[in-house]
C-alpha cells in the first residue's frame, strides 16, 4: 500500500503529522491539545469542557457567530470534544479550503476572546450535557464503570459535576486556558490531498508563534473497584464489566486485541453467538479494548430486560472465563480479516486517517504504516494469544449494573 507520511516538530513543540492521500478531493485536520478533563481542578470538574465551549465563542477577528458562518461558507464540517487527556478540534473539507481552516483554528486555540458575557450561555450548554445523562441509562452505566475502575482523574466524565460547573467563573476559564492551551505536547494531524511543503509552511505561519507551556500534572487516583448496583425502574438492566488489559503502546497490545476480537468482533464472535444468537438474551452486547498511555482495560457491556439479566451476566462472565482458556486459529482468522479490511477502508476517509495518525503519534511517537499494521495482524497466532492469556488472563474486577434489581456476581480475588 502506498503511503506518504511526513512529520515536522515546530520549535515550540507542536507536532505536525501529515498523511498524503492524493486520490481524495478532501482534507481533514485533527488538532489534539493536551488539556483533557484529567487536568480539571478537583473542585472544578467540568472546567476543560466549559473552556472548550468558551474557546468557540469568538476568536481573532471573528465573533462566535462570524466564526461558525465563515466555516459554513467554506463548507467545513467541524466538531470539538473533550476526553480524559485531550481537547480535540476536528474539521474536514474540500482540500482547497485547508489553508483557510488552519488559519481559523490557529485563532481558535491561540486567540479566543473568552467573553464574560457569554459565560452564562456556555455554562447552560455544559449543564445540559451533564443532565442529559440522567435519561441515558446505558451511558450512565458506562460512566460509573469507568469512574469505579480507573478512579480520579482518569475515570472522570469530561462533562463534570453540576455544582462545580455552576460555580465556575470567567477567571477559572481564563486561568485554565492560560495554563493548558499551548504548543507543548499538542498534535496537529492532517490527512488527505495537500502539498506537503505548502502545508508545513502554512502551519509554521499560523502556529509557529504559539507559546509553549509547562504541561500540567494529573492528580492522584482513587479507584473503587468491585461491585456496584444503581437502582432505577427501567425496562432494561444494563451490565458493564471491566477487566485489566494492556495499553495500545504495549508490546502485547495486538495479542490482547486479537483475543477481544474473538470475544466480540463481528457476528460470529463468542459474545454475539452465545448471548444474542443462541440464547436471544439481548439486542446489544459488546467488548472492546480501552487505553491510556500507561494502562489499558477490556470493557464489556450488555443491555437486557430484568428477568434475563442474571443469566446474561452469568454467560458474559463464563465467556470471559472461556476466553482465558484459549482461542482457536479459525476464530482468529475471521478477526484478522475484519481488522485488515477496516484498515484498508480507512484509505477512503481523510477524517478517519487524521484521527488515526494523531492517535498513533500520541501512543507510539510515530505513525505505523498500514503495511506494518497489516503484518502485525497477519503475524498473530492462536498459540501466542493463548500464551498471553496465560500470563495475563482477563479477570473482571469492576462490575456496574443498573436496573430494578441487583444481580449476583462473584468477583473472586482481585
Amino acid at each position: 500500500m502506498e503511503q506518504t507520511i511526513n512529520v515536522r516538530t515546530l520549535d515550540n513543540g507542536l507536532i505536525l503529522v501529515a498523511e498524503s492521500m492524493p486520490w481524495l478531493e478532501s482534507a481533514a485536520m485533527s488538532l489534539h491539545v493536551p488539556c483533557g478533563c484529567v487536568f480539571d481542578p478537583v473542585d472544578r470538574l467540568g472546567l476543560a469542557n466549559l473552556t472548550c465551549e468558551m474557546v468557540q465563542r469568538g476568536c481573532g477577528a471573528h465573533s462566535s457567530r462570524q466564526f461558525v458562518e465563515r466555516l459554513e461558507s467554506l463548507g467545513v464540517d467541524h466538531s470539538a470534544s473533550v476526553s480524559a487527556m485531550h481537547t480535540t478540534y476536528m474539521a474536514s473539507m474540500m482540500s482547497e479550503r485547508l489553508p483557510d481552516a488552519l488559519g481559523m483554528y490557529a485563532d481558535l486555540v491561540r486567540r479566543p476572546h473568552l467573553p464574560e458575557k457569554q459565560l452564562d450561555d456556555a455554562r447552560l450548554v455544559c449543564l445540559h450535557e451533564i443532565r442529559s445523562i440522567d435519561d441515558d441509562f446505558a451511558q450512565m452505566t458506562h460512566q460509573r464503570l469507568r469512574l469505579d475502575h480507573y478512579g480520579h482523574p482518569l475515570g472522570r466524565n469530561a462533562a463534570g459535576v453540576l455544582d462545580h460547573v455552576e460555580r465556575a467563573t470567567i477567571d477559572d476559564v481564563r486561568a485554565f486556558f492560560a495554563g493548558a492551551y499551548g504548543a507543548t505536547g499538542a498534535i496537529l494531524a492532517v490527512a488527505g490531498r495537500f502539498d506537503w511543503e505548502s502545508l508545513a509552511a502554512c502551519v509554521e505561519r499560523h502556529f509557529g508563534g504559539w507559546t509553549p507551556h509547562a504541561l500540567r500534572r494529573m492528580g492522584d487516583e482513587r479507584p473503587c473497584r468491585g461491585r456496584r448496583h444503581l437502582e432505577h425502574d427501567t425496562n432494561q438492566t444494563h451490565i458493564a464489566i471491566a477487566c485489566p488489559g494492556v495499553p495500545y503502546n504495549h508490546a502485547d497490545y495486538f495479542l490482547a486485541r486479537g483475543a477481544v476480537g474473538v470475544l466480540s468482533d463481528g457476528v460470529s464472535s463468542r459474545f454475539f453467538l452465545e448471548i444474542r444468537e443462541h440464547r436471544a438474551l439481548c439486542y446489544a452486547v459488546s467488548a472492546y479494548c480501552h487505553s491510556f498511555l500507561d494502562r489499558g482495560s477490556v470493557l464489556c457491556y450488555a443491555g437486557t430486560t430484568a428477568e434475563r439479566a442474571q443469566e446474561t451476566l452469568d454467560v458474559m462472565l463464563a465467556e470471559l472465563d472461556g476466553l482465558n482458556r484459549g482461542v482457536r486459529d479459525e476464530e482468529l482468522a475471521r478477526v484478522k480479516a475484519r481488522i485488515k479490511s477496516g484498515l484498508i477502508m480507512q484509505q477512503e476517509s481523510s477524517g478517519a486517517r487524521a484521527s488515526s495518525i494523531a492517535g498513533d503519534w500520541y501512543y507510539w511517537g510515530r505513525v505505523r504504516t498500514l503495511d506494518e499494521l497489516k503484518s502485525l495482524i497477519d503475524g498473530l497466532t492462536a498459540r501466542d494469544i493463548n500464551a498471553f492469556l496465560d500470563r495475563h488472563p482477563f479477570r473482571p474486577v469492576t462490575i456496574v449494573t443498573l436496573g430494578e434489581k441487583e444481580l449476583e456476581a462473584d468477583l473472586g480475588v482481585s
Binding site: 467545513v76 435519561d135 457476528v267 454475539f272 436471544a280 446489544a284 477512503e348
Partner: protein, 415 residues
C-alpha cells in the same frame, strides 16, 4: 465515476456506480418493502423478517451465515425503514464473489418456526431498549398522530403485542410477495467489476421466480386533517422531549431540495436559527429540524429536548422561528451558506463507497433514477429564494402536529 445497469430476465435490477479509486466495494440488496407495506395483523413483520434473514437458508445454518459474513472481512448490516429493507456489506474487491453468493442466498431464507420464536426475544429486547431511551417513543407517537391510520404512522419495530402475536406463516406469505426480484435491486458502488457482478447476480439470483411486487404509492397520500397535539407523561424521563411534524415535499417532488435547504437554515444542529436562539444560549439541550421524504408524501420534523420547566417557552420560540420564516422569508446570505454546507457534505461523504451505496440504492428504489454527485450538487445550487418562499407557501410550518413526552402532564403553550 461510471453508472452501469442491467436487468435480469426475472426483473431483478443490477446497478453499479464504479469508482476505480475506491479501495472497497459496497454491495447491497435493496428491497422495496417496509413498515408502510404492512397490514395491521402483521405489524412489525418487515423488520422481524430482516432479523430472520440471518437465521439461515436451505444451504446455510445461522452460525454458517455469521461465520461467513465475518470471514469475508465484511462490515455488514441491515436496516428496515418505513419504505425499504436493505442488506449491505462493505468488502475488499477480492471478496465480491463470496459476498454476492452469500447475500443472494440470504434473500431466500429458511424461515423456520423455532428460529422465529427465539428471535422474537431479541426483537422484544430491541423494543424494550428503545422504550428506555430518549426520546422515549416521542418520535413514533408523533408519526402516529400525524399519519393517523395510515401505515406510515406505525412504528417500524411493531409493538410488544404485535410481535408476540406474529407467526411464521404470515411472515412466509409476506416474504413471498415482497421479496420478488421485481421489487428488489442489487446495487454495488466503489471498486466494482460490472461484468463480474452481473454474472454473479445471474448465477445466484437469476433463478428466482418473477412475480409482481405490490406497493401502491397512491396509498401514501395523507388526507390533510387538523393538526393535533398530545402530551404523554413518562415516569423515567427527566427532560422534556417534543416532536413537531408538518407536511413537506415528497421523495419525487423537485421541491425536496428547497425543503432540505430550508430545514438546514432554520434547524440544523449548528449555525441555524434554532441553534443560535435555543442551543447556543443554553435554553435547550437540543433544538433541530430536518426534512424527511417518502413516496407520495413528506414531512418537516423538529425536535426539542430541554428541562421540563423551559419546555413551554422554548416551544413558543420554535414556533416563532416558523412564523418568522413565513413572515420574512430567508436571506440570500443564509441560502448561499447552507448550499455550501450541504454540497460540501455531499461531496465529502461520497469519498466512501459505503456512503454512495445508500445514496444510489435509495434513489433507485424511491425514484427509479440515478444521479451523479455533481448532478445532486447542481440541483441544490439551482434553488432560488423564490423556490424557498414558494415552498413555504405550499407547506405551512405553523400547522403542525405536536407530541411531547416527559415529566409534564400538560404544557401551557400547547393548551
Amino acid at each position: 465515476m461510471e453508472f452501469l445497469r442491467h436487468t435480469l430476465a426475472n426483473g431483478l435490477e443490477v446497478l453499479a456506480e464504479r469508482n476505480e479509486k475506491a479501495y472497497s466495494t459496497a454491495i447491497g440488496y435493496f428491497v422495496k418493502t417496509g413498515a408502510r407495506d404492512e397490514s395491521l395483523d402483521v405489524w412489525g413483520v418487515s423488520h422481524f423478517l430482516e432479523h430472520m434473514v440471518f437465521k439461515g437458508t436451505l444451504l446455510r445454518s445461522a452460525d454458517d451465515v455469521n461465520r461467513e459474513l465475518d470471514a469475508i472481512g465484511s462490515h455488514s448490516n441491515a436496516y428496515t425503514s418505513e419504505e425499504q429493507t436493505v442488506y449491505h456489506a462493505v468488502v475488499l474487491p477480492e471478496y465480491v464473489d463470496r459476498t454476492v453468493d452469500l447475500l443472494s442466498d440470504l434473500m431466500r431464507p429458511a424461515l423456520r418456526a423455532e428460529d422465529l420464536e427465539t428471535e422474537k426475544q431479541v426483537i422484544l429486547e430491541e423494543i424494550a431498549k428503545y422504550d428506555d431511551q430518549p426520546p422515549f417513543g416521542a418520535f413514533e407517537k408523533a408519526m402516529a398522530l400525524h399519519f393517523e391510520s395510515h401505515s406510515l404512522g406505525r412504528s417500524v419495530l411493531g409493538t410488544r403485542e404485535s410481535i408476540i402475536a406474529l407467526g411464521v406463516e404470515p411472515m412466509r406469505r409476506f416474504h413471498a410477495t415482497q421479496y420478488s426480484p421485481r421489487n428488489m435491486a442489487l446495487v454495488a458502488t466503489g471498486n466494482v467489476d460490472f461484468e463480474q457482478l452481473v454474472a454473479l447476480a445471474e448465477r445466484h439470483a437469476g433463478g428466482w421466480p418473477a412475480f409482481e411486487g405490490r406497493r401502491d404509492p397512491t396509498r401514501a397520500r395523507r388526507v390533510p386533517s387538523e393538526a393535533r397535539t398530545r402530551v404523554v407523561r413518562h415516569p423515567l424521563a427527566s427532560q422534556q422531549y417534543v416532536i413537531l411534524v408538518s407536511d413537506g415535499p415528497a421523495a419525487d417532488d423537485a421541491a425536496r431540495h428547497a425543503g432540505r435547504l430550508l430545514a438546514t437554515i432554520l434547524g440544523d444542529d449548528t449555525g441555524s436559527r434554532m441553534f443560535w436562539d435555543l442551543v447556543d444560549t443554553g435554553r435547550a439541550e437540543c433544538a433541530a429540524m430536518g426534512s424527511h421524504e417518502f413516496q407520495g408524501t413528506g414531512l418537516f420534523l423538529s425536535y426539542l429536548c430541554c428541562e421540563s420547566d423551559d419546555a413551554s417557552s422554548n416551544l413558543d420560540r420554535m414556533r416563532t422561528v416558523f412564523a418568522d420564516a413565513h413572515r420574512r422569508g430567508v436571506t440570500l446570505d443564509e441560502l448561499d451558506r447552507v448550499k455550501s454546507k450541504i454540497c460540501s457534505h455531499i461531496v465529502l461523504s461520497s469519498e466512501r463507497a459505503a456512503n454512495r451505496l445508500f445514496a444510489v440504492g435509495g434513489a433507485w428504489l424511491t425514484r427509479n433514477e440515478y444521479r451523479t454527485v455533481r448532478e445532486v450538487v447542481d440541483a441544490y445550487q439551482r434553488v432560488t429564494l423564490d423556490d424557498i418562499h414558494a415552498l413555504l407557501d405550499q407547506f405551512p410550518l405553523t400547522r403542525h402536529t405536536v407530541c411531547a413526552v416527559g415529566p409534564l402532564e400538560r404544557i401551557p403553550s400547547l393548551a
